[in-house]
Symmetry: C2
Subunit: 471 residues, 2 copies
């Protein structure tokens, strides 16, 4: 227990028991600190603690007074909200809300969302690098850096992509607060509200929400379950929609939810098709570094001599979801992207950018990726085989080439919205397939996360899911 807590609890008892009464003035900081042999700072902390709890209140220039008692609430107040169960016929928003609320409850099995177990983030190294930045550059905390961001971070990003055969200068990179912001800025730079954006189907519901809330129409193009988007879909969409079709948001490497990666040949064809149709490709690379192959797959942008792909990414899925920085990489649209970024931020998170830049530079990142992808690949095998064993016959499972989510198609007429709800009643979080389609297709599919250690609880949870899916 901290020093201040002793004093605070003593005073709390006196207030609750009535020894100190409503409106009574507390001893001054000095008197109190003398009386208890505590430092004035400790007394200040104790008073702040009591104030925070509504037990005492400061009055200007007169010190602290006992607050009026409030009626006790019958049940204890708690920060953790009780489990949110979506209603019987839930909307996508209700399902997403349920999905996200569940991650804060440690008693719910985390198969629903796309973030790995804490142990798969390199926390100790990030902390070390962060402290190194603070030590070596003491002004980092007070440095005001405007968009397009710190030079160190922009260099780190572009030099990483140069190794993946992307022609890029550091000046082409713009820092953002994450990949979602990157995609939104890219869309604003190339399309006006009312224009149409092509999305893969299935695709991450955050992208669908973003495109919809920004006021764009959506063209839903089918994603082949092993090969990815057929490049001919671009011409097909263009014929149907015409010039209002301005952009496509794609996840060519380790699609969320399928986990698949497109072949290099297909990527080349896709960029060529984009050039022919005049559609700007917005490429989301958040999962691309988490490859199970010997070599990390190249981005679309590696096959893009005309600079028609806007590359978006972040390190929230690999280094830290808490020390955040994302990026945009493109030269042709640089002015428009920069103008958009400048309107949403007056300054950037210098500390986050410097930390990530140093982390990337020092080779930690490659070693970290090697470690976690080996582990994710092993877990994928365990999760997949348990699913196959315990789910209804005829269940199909995607074959991720990277990332940490997989896509399960259940046989028959099962409603995955109801399955998500029933699973949550059993304290298991999964994502209904309908969230991954603007039209609400994929009713019989679910997305599952496999980046948690394969504990007996997880194994039991998967078997329970299988049993629920039989009904």
């Amino acid at each position: 227990m901290n020093l201040y807590e002793n004093l605070a609890l003593e005073l709390e008892n006196q207030i609750r028991s009535g020894t100190l009464r409503y409106g009574e003035r507390l001893p001054s900081i000095r008197v109190q600190s003398d009386a208890h042999g505590l430092s004035p700072g400790t007394v200040v902390e104790a008073y702040a603690w009591l104030e925070e709890r509504g037990l005492i209140e400061p009055r200007p220039r007169s010190g602290y007074f006992v607050s009026a008692p409030r009626a006790e609430t019958p049940t204890p107040e708690s920060d953790v909200e009780s489990v949110y169960l979506p209603p019987e016929d839930p909307s996508p928003e209700e399902l997403i809300h349920a999905l996200r609320q569940a991650i804060y409850d440690p008693k719910i099995l985390p198969l629903g969302i796309a973030t790995p177990a804490a142990e798969f983030f390199p926390n100790a190294q990030v902390e070390r690098v962060l402290k190194q930045v603070l030590r070596e550059e003491p002004t980092t905390l007070s440095d005001y850096i405007y968009p397009p961001g710190t030079i160190a971070f922009r260099r780190a990003v572009s030099s990483r992509y140069r190794k993946l055969q992307v022609e890029s200068e550091w000046k082409d990179a713009i820092s953002t607060s994450g990949a979602t912001e990157s995609i939104g800025l890219a869309l604003r730079a190339v399309a006006n509200p009312g224009d149409v954006v092509l999305l893969e189907s299935p695709t991450y519901f955050g992208i669908i929400q973003l495109v919809r809330t920004m006021g764009y129409g959506i063209y839903e193009a089918p994603l082949h379950p092993t090969d990815g988007l057929d490049p001919e879909e671009l011409a097909r969409a263009k014929r149907k929609i015409g010039s209002r079709l301005k952009a496509a948001v794609l996840v060519p490497n380790h699609s969320n939810p399928l986990g698949i990666a497109m072949s290099d040949d297909r990527k080349k064809e896709l960029v060529l098709a984009a050039r022919k149709t005049g559609i700007t490709l917005i490429e989301d690379e958040v999962y691309a570094d988490l490859s199970f192959a010997d070599r990390r797959p190249k981005p679309l942008k590696a096959f893009d001599p005309d600079d028609s792909v806007i590359l978006c990414g972040s390190f929230s899925k690999t280094i830290s979801p808490s020390v955040r920085a994302g990026y945009l990489l493109n030269s042709r649209h640089h002015e428009a992207l920069f103008a958009q970024k400048s309107t949403v931020s007056s300054g950037v998170s210098t500390l986050a950018e410097e930390t990530l830049a140093l982390f990337l530079k020092d080779g930690f990142y490659e070693r970290h990726l090697a470690r976690v992808t080996r582990e994710y690949q092993r877990l994928l095998g365990l999760y997949t085989s348990t699913i196959i064993q315990s789910f209804p016959e005829g269940t199909r499972v995607s074959r991720p080439a990277g990332g940490y989510v997989l896509w399960v198609q259940l046989p028959g007429e099962i409603d995955s919205r109801s399955l998500q709800r029933r699973a949550l009643e059993k304290r298991i979080n999964i994502a209904s397939g309908v969230l991954f389609s603007p039209q609400g297709a994929f009713q019989s599919c679910i997305r599952m996360n496999f980046a948690f250690p394969f504990t007996p609880q997880i194994e039991r949870g998967i078997r329970t899911l299988g049993a629920l899916a039989m009904k």
Copy 2:
């Protein structure tokens, strides 16, 4: 010098002198570390350093090789861009670009932008609190927290505002990446593109840019130089514009550029007028804590029983521009604000939010504010008296009640755009008044920052400005 630098420089010399030739393979990490008695990690660092400089390159599974020599550029490359001088008849964008570029050049006097000297940020305390967060909550780095943000930060914000007589629960607060993002999200929550937004005139150019880029029309309402916005302006604007006038973005406490604060009575009237006209007030509080008065002025939202004010703010002007978090505070529009925030970010900067929350809780913040505002007030006197002494007769200077910018109106026909340019030629950065009006009014005004220690260079700079303004 670091250990790795010795090795790196030795190898660089060998490469530049031709001892190591193009295409030659470097010794392996192990061999090199044995040969020099260095740890393998040090050799890796040295090789990374050389690679970063394009002197060597890794080849898959074969080690490092000397890169092809590149022709030397005639002048040394530098990260610092040379001074950007806007053209003779500069656009607002060109003036803003010049203003912002200049802050990265330490040889330019920083009177142009609205951020204080590094020493006025509490870097050491922020660093201490940040390390405390990492120590006490080791999972902070891997915690994935969705919008509306961490409970600790939202509690810290709402409890601060409760002390300023704002009725608010922590659940009403939404974290953002800064005040600019807050304002943008508030606008999207209450107005559609094509709608009209009332702005004070003069007001911060970042707000003008934001509102314009978001596709809103702008109604420019005059700001009284001592009293602030006349509440009747709302009804007047409503009569002219009609129902398309949806919102007003206001800086009632320590306006940028004037530095003035509205009286409580005026604030009450303004909120009443907003209720009558159905205009949502979006209140920007970024400078509000930097008050020179005994008591920090209350926000508009303290006079807002109907919850028609959306309060926006951040700690980038007071605690750190680098560890960033901003906020939105409003209950009535909470769902719409949350929906907007969810589309621009999938996650929040947990580390930044936890750090700021703890900083606010521990009473550091109040002590820090007391220290810097005393200093800013002292500096304001020095700057103002020097301006009055050295600027042309008839010059008027605003009387800031807080913050760290002031507004100078020059007599006669002077063109402040040209003055900004000529000052920059003398390595002095100031902001032309035209930037603070959507129509480009205030041609004879400039905004100056007074939050830098009053050194002989600053004093000389102000006198030089005065001489330039005579021409």
